[in-house]
Amino acid sequence: MSADLTTPLPLRGHDFDAFLARITGERHYAGQVAHVGRLPERPARHAEPTAPLPEVLSRALAARGIERLYRHQAEAIDLARLGHHVVVVTGTASGKTLAYNLPVLEGLMADPDATALYLFPTKALAQDQLKGLTRLLESMSDAGTGPGADSEVDLIESIKPGVYDGDTSQSARRKIRDTGRLVLSNPDMLHRALLPYHGRWSRFLSRLRYVIVDEIHTYRGIFGSNVANVLRRLRRVAAHHGADPQFLSSSATIANPVELAEALTGVATRAVTEDGSPRGPRWFVTWNPPHVDRARVERRSGNVEAMEILVRLVREGVSTIVFCKARVVAELIYKYAHDELRRRDGALAGRLTPYRSGYLPSERRAIEKRLFDGELLGVVSTNALELGIDIGSLDASIVVGFPGTFASVWQQSGRAGRGHQGSLTVFVAYDDPIDQYLARHPDYFLGQAPEAAAIDPGNPYILAGHVACAAFELPLGPEDEELFGPLTSGVRNALEAENQLAPLGGLHYFSSTDFPAQKVNLRTISDDTYSIVDLTNGDRVIGMVDAISAPELVYPEAIYLHEGETWFVKRLDMDQKVAYVEPVSVDYYTQPVLDTSLRVTERREERWSGPERLTLNRATVTWATTMFKKIQFGSTDSIGYKNLTLPPQHLDTVALGWSPSEAVRNAVRADGRKPAEGLSGIRNLMITVLPLFVMCDRSDVGGVIDSSNLGHPTLFLYDRFAGGVGFTERGYTVWEEMVAEALRLLEDCPCVDGCPSCVGLPILRPAQHQDPDVMNGFPIPDKGAARVMLRSLLEP
């Protein structure tokens, strides 16, 4: 059947129940629909701010079709007017932008000298917001009437917003510095270009009234830890020029928006979480590709399934956006869908478009317009597009593979749904442990977001760069300790010992010829990376790998996989940090065996978790690749091994420690199993489960079983980043929930004795850990031992 594509959409939009019934009723239907969740329609809830908006603003809004405000917008305005720092936590397309634009414009009209700084995580987002602000200001100019209209128009004109980023011309930069009142920028620019030269910005800074930080959930992990320090430097420099700005932020739905906002800015923040925007009924479908054979081992490709769903939707006139994890997948799905549509329905193929990052604003606007006009029915994109860039709303969203965080799933799902009309989200699961787990537990998508964003601005490796930058900006004084945290004096002393700082008269001055902001990259801790160099092609660098992963991936004679090709590591130079490789065609891969140990250097916190002790520590993790195995493709048989003598690596980081009590260990022994194996299995489960609670990847944390610290076997989970970035620290807080989740994952897994999807090593981490107390390692520890251990924890 084909839908009539020329008539306007019915008021309530598409009937997705009927759509799904058609699919499941088909003869070839293979049971892919694992679950259908329905969220009811939500009407708009309006409210008025306590005092009305200035008339010029309400008229401008009316001219743009906004007669009343939603309650979260009104609430945000009220809080902002009272001088609070605010974070608005509402969904996509909820009018979050107005929630901060309105108080800012009101404030800039009331005080003709006041200024505002807007920070966005990407340049494209800043450009989009500039467009929105410009339109609103134009409406304000047009709306002005009555006596004093001319001076009001002048005032509005004075708020000419400008983007200040790497692409801004020199003359535009000067103009913005000298006269700009509303500046849109990003944290990198603030860090490198504004703060170090704050003398040129004294006018702007002395009147700085508002700082807008948009999409704060993107500031997590290392990036967030760096940005938190940049914002503290901003407050410090602003205070020097006489300003104490108000922070207005926005965040996607995460477990800890206030905690994150306060950790980023250092100021007490109020949250606005009640979303007053209307939402049509939502269908949320979990789609699991069928098994390809009776043995029920492998599943069909998620990409092909996604493509077929897209084609169906487009043929029924449902405008759809597809989110893919990688560009290469997006290109593939687009191509397949395009070819399929051309085969079946000629004209429809032209109504599909890929959406790549790096489009010019004009290209994006062309796509937006075609979507809005109904000319385009399908967009295939990568996850990069989930941020608030305005391409309008569609009717359906297909999420191909778990994008890494639930917040992302919601952002992507939020792209579907126009006004009161129904929307459809289809989550297509890949054949990956987490995707499969979520396919069995759709309540994750429909319940409260469990995951938190974690940062650690006090990480000494991160803090050092920013203390140097701060000293460059203004000499460091005793009050800076309060701003930057308790490690500040230690970091300051370290920098002084390196002749970067000089103490004079109670202050510390920057005393080197370096330009410290140049040396701090907001997205890394240090430039500790290895280059991978192709010996056969003029030493061309084909890739980079971080120093912590290098001994696991590019040890001598390793088979290294890069972009689908196999390379043989001829030589590893650990001083120069280079791995020399050559292309090779082999029928085996290599798996390293690592000797890992951990030494606790300081206990930070401890508590009881039931009868077990849980600790949070500073620890040094040491590991060395001692040998590797050669494993035949397809058979998992080891066809040989080789010993290695590589120098050990050290990592000073933060680690959570958990020691099962004697009672629990006895329970395992009573069952005829080994406690050490149980612990190994739990270690692997926890690494899989932690990302459900904190926004990180499995590869960001590591685990080791070690009894040298406490005298009995202890499970340690640590951040694989020097100094720690808050991941395992968060795990320490939610440990009990992690234990429950680990047991759920284990019980749920259909395997009998254990497999890589539950107690075994996650497939992504090929290294086999040799824990100090565990002889010969356990590639797949005994599932039963882990089960007994976990159950005895949860049963009092």
Partner: protein
């Protein structure tokens, strides 16, 4: 990040006691005289060393009090230095009084100077610790009073004296409001403005600004390899310096002085600054003449 810094931060990451030199520097303000207190960092541990000479012995002068604290001022008549042409003040005066070439006649800076007379100008040259946004530590000034040229050097003996230095420069400019520089429009004046804005020191606001770089470009660019000061010094004035400090070394020389308080290396910086100012003054005289061609380097001449 250097390995040693990484190691020190590692100690913090491990939660051990902080490494490095104890706490803040001694809380005492700068002592009167030439060597402000430096806290622990200045102590040399181990072998005994002869203390470095006093700044006053190397760069005689006095402490200058401003509303932003103190800095050091060194002042001497220009003709104190051998090799300086004593008729400079006279020649500058004639240059100013006589009808100028057309391009200078159109120059607002020249006009402001002419209007106010020879004594109203300040030849100015900064020495800084970087190319932008880094502290200024030295300002060299040349001025004329009743036919006598005087060289003044204002020095921030450490980073904490920079605000006083900026205040002193602003004060000088208020008394002699026409400034003559080489590339001052792009470098020295914006630099002073940024640092003053940063430290909230009084801004330097000259009433007129004659930038010799602009004049030189107009006048001599086609006949010279470039318009750097030293190139003009050689090609236009026929003079060359020996043993001049490389500009790139200047920032580190200052940082080292702040650390170890040995003023002797500063002499080279002062000499460089003085030379620059002197050349600037002579170039100004030359620029005022209408038809003197620039001599060129004979082919094959060695460059010292």
């Amino acid at each position: 990040m250097t390995d040693s810094l990484h190691e020190r931060l590692g100690a913090l990451a491990r939660g051990g006691r902080p490494t490095g030199n104890g706490g803040l520097g001694a809380g005492a303000p700068s002592m009167p005289g030439s060597t402000p207190s430096m806290g622990v960092a200045a102590l040399s541990v181990g072998r005994r060393r002869r203390p470095p000479p006093d700044l006053a012995d190397i760069l005689p002068g006095e402490e200058l009090r401003t509303d932003r604290g103190v800095c050091w001022r060194h002042e001497r008549p220009l003709d104190h230095w051998p090799g300086v042409d004593e008729s400079l003040a006279e020649r500058l005066n004639s240059a100013l009084v006589d009808p100028p070439p057309d391009d200078l006649a159109r120059d607002a800076g020249w006009g402001a100077w002419r209007e106010r007379g020879l004594d109203s100008a300040l030849f100015l040259d900064l020495e800084t610790t970087g190319l932008a946004a880094m502290p200024v530590f030295l300002c060299g000034l040349l001025s004329c009073h009743r036919g006598e040229m005087t060289f003044r050097l204002l020095l921030a003996r450490d980073y904490s004296e920079e605000a006083a230095l900026l205040s002193a420069v602003a004060e000088e400019l208020s008394r002699r409001p026409v400034v003559v520089t080489f590339n001052g429009k792009s470098y020295d004046l914006p630099y002073l403005a940024e640092r003053a804005g940063r430290l909230k020191a009084p801004p330097s606001r000259p009433v007129g600004h004659l930038d010799l770089l602009h004049v030189a470009r107009r006048r001599w660019a086609t006949r010279l390899p470039d318009c750097r000061l030293k190139t003009l010094e050689w090609h236009v004035l026929g003079r060359r310096r020996g043993g001049d400090i490389d500009g790139a070394e200047i920032p580190d020389t200052y940082h080292r002085f702040v650390r170890d308080r040995d003023p002797r290396p500063l002499v080279r910086v002062m000499a460089h600054n003085l030379h620059d100012l002197y050349t600037l003054a002579e170039l100004t005289v030359r620029a005022a003449r209408t038809s003197v061609p620039a001599p060129t380097l004979p082919p094959g001449s060695p460059d010292i």
